[in-house]
Amino acid sequence: MEKFQTFTGIVAPLDRANIDTDAIIPKQFLKSIHRTGFGPNLFDEWRYLDHGEPGQDCTNRPLNQNFVLNQDRYKNSSVLLTRENFGCGSSREHAPWALADYGFKAIISESFADIFYNNCFKNGILPITLSTEKIQHLIEKTESNIGFSLKVDLENQTLTDSFGNMTFFEIESFRKDALLNGLEEIGLTLSHAEEIKIFETSHLQKHPWLFRT
């Protein structure tokens, strides 16, 4: 995984709570057997006026101009600002794949669903949790300033707007390290292979019924 770098990006506000992974990437696109190419179908049912199918060329589909990501001012945004319980529902990793493929590098919300939150870190996306008051404040600022952007600095755990206002955010140190160093988790776990084998042998002795299929 690539190392997470400090970046400055346009903020797109999606002022809605409980956005589920079915909304982020509808099920018909889950039929792909690849990890890439989900960006054009991110928020498909909200973004387009027609019904999308996998394998379709999205460039000429009718856009829902009311949807935030279709508005010129939010084109090329890389920070998504939203409300509580973002990413609830299905465990599909296609949701962070679609967000990353579209170009989002950070998502700011009051809270995230557990599985989605975890999946973000496997794909180089930084989910940032802020208080309701701060989210409200940021949404207002985003809406009243065209081109409103934030500098996202994970190392120092700060968000800085173009006016110089800085906000700190909390993140667990192991998650921060994983993103900053682009850690490859499977390789990391395999460095403990001997310990896993020792555990496995003793586990099987204690529970000999476990390993039958």
């Binding site: 319980n85 975890n118 499977i186 395999l190 496995e200």
Partner: protein, 464 residues
């Protein structure tokens, strides 16, 4: 020192190591695999040139894309077909046990795991599917994971995890006559909200839980994720042991004795401390119906869509084509779906058949379908004559699979269609773009099919 919760016990018995940075390496006994969330994991293994850590820990089944009729014609949709073919190829090349589409034991992954005795008490069980929480009903630690983690388990048999907090939801007293596990879990979600369990493993306890069958317990644990918690748990008791005993892959003979002795210890200690405890009087619960686009938007069938002054519910109501103050019983339906990993087990079909028996599906219903959870559930139902009851009433009787719960196959709602569904999610577009879903129990869905609108199936004379 205080005692341990069931979750603590399951966690501790699978803890390989505690990593320096505050995470833990947790050993995974069983991984269940389906066609949607696994192809990229196998691809990742091949690219990294890694091998399977323990082949027999994995069991696969295609379920999401599977057609529920005319199976002999194969899968029509080329994308669905490619995904199912890819699973077959991956299982063949890695020698993973798979119940293929043509296997008489094929079914929804969360139905066949317990049914085959492939998921057992005391196990850690994962699957690239959020409804893996279902298996917690057997006193196992079971949770959904993403595809990167599927690959992690295939390659290492472990996951890097952070321990969740402990929550106890204690259901005191008895459910009223005719109230089901589905009503119980919808009531809980309505009470704590869809994020109420985020960060927790939820243990369900109390007399009303102990009185549930295994099928009912699976319904409750299945929808724990709809309350935000990745894992739901129920302590092992005689009901659990009776269910597991004799299942094809369950231990037999001496091994059974040894296993069942251990499984009996799988309950929270008397002095265990939970981070949060919620007590609910089960006797307060009525048949529940969701009216919005989140499972927490739920009320009882005799109620109405609530009023708010802040417009909070307006996007959901606009999508659903409903207004505040509408009585639930006045909501007319177009389609009825009885199935999904929440409610497609034999007990669910019996409950629905009992309601339908001798009656006819309303003329106003375009389609009423029953999709059994697995081949064995279907066979059992047919042996009991339930298929005939449904068919005589005007229901379609289909082949097992996920079907219209998420509409990845051909079974779906058209835009604007309204469905009484025994599934688990009423999200926008879940059952088809523009489709409107109301989550209910099998008995409630069956009664709605007969009347064409919601009725309180526990009321005497509901059919009149």
């Amino acid at each position: 020192m205080s005692g341990k919760t069931l979750y603590d016990k399951l966690w501790d018995s699978h803890l390989v190591r505690e990593n320096e940075e505050g995470t833990s390496l947790l050993y995974i006994d069983r991984q269940l695999i389906h066609e949607v969330t696994s192809p990229q994991a196998f691809e990742g293994m091949r690219l990294a040139n890694r091998s399977l850590w323990r082949t027999e820990a994995n069991v696969a089944v295609p379920d999401h894309n599977i057609p529920t009729k005319d199976r002999d014609k194969g899968i029509e949709d080329p994308f669905s077909k490619l995904q199912v073919d890819t699973l077959d190829e991956n299982c063949d090349s890695f020698q993973i046990k798979e119940f293929k589409m043509s296997d008489p034991n094929q079914g929804i992954v969360h139905v066949i795991g317990p049914e085959q005795g492939l998921t057992l008490p005391g196990m850690t069980i994962v699957c690239g599917d959020s409804h893996t929480s279902t298996h917690g009903a057997l006193g196992a630690l079971a949770f959904g994971i993403g595809t990167s983690e599927v690959e992690h388990v295939l390659s290492t048999q472990c996951l890097i995890q952070q321990k969740s907090k402990n929550m106890l939801i204690k259901m005191n007293g008895e459910l009223k006559q005719g109230i089901t596990a589905k009503d119980l879990i919808l009531f809980i979600i309505g009470k704590i909200g869809t994020a109420g369990g985020t960060g927790y493993a939820i243990e369900f306890g109390g007399d009303a839980i102990k009185a549930l069958s295994m099928e009912g317990r699976m319904t409750v644990c299945n929808m724990t994720i709809e309350a935000g918690a990745r894992a739901g748990l129920i302590a092992v008791d005689q009901t659990t042991l009776d269910y597991v005993n004799g299942k094809p892959f369950a231990p037999k003979g001496e091994l059974w004795d040894q296993a069942s002795e251990y499984w009996k210890t799988l309950q929270s200690d008397q002095d265990a401390v939970f981070d949060k405890t919620i007590e609910i009087d089960a006797g307060d619960i009525n048949p529940m119906v969701t009216w919005g686009t989140s499972p927490e938007m739920v009320t009882d069938v005799d109620g109405m869509i609530p009023f708010t002054t802040n417009g909070k519910f307006q996007p959901a109501l606009d999508y659903m084509g409903l207004a505040q103050g509408t009585a639930i019983k006045n909501i007319d339906l177009d389609k009825i779906f009885i199935g999904s990993c929440t409610n497609s087990r034999i007990e669910d079909l019996r409950e629905a058949a009992k309601v339908v028996d001798g009656k006819k599906v309303s003329d106003s219903i375009k389609l009423a379908m029953v999709v059994p959870g697995s081949g064995p559930v279907k066979a059992q139902a047919e042996q009991e004559g339930l298929d005939k009851i449904f068919l005589d009433a005007g229901f379609e009787w289909r082949e097992p699979g996920c079907s219209m719960c998420l509409a990845m196959n051909a079974d779906r709602l058209e835009s604007g269609e309204r469905c009484a569904s025994t599934s688990n999610r009423n999200f926008e577009g879940r059952q088809g773009q523009g489709g409107r879903t109301h989550l209910v129990s099998p008995a409630m869905a069956a009664a709605a099919a007969i009347k064409g609108h919601f009725v309180n199936v526990t009321t005497v004379g509901w059919e009149n």
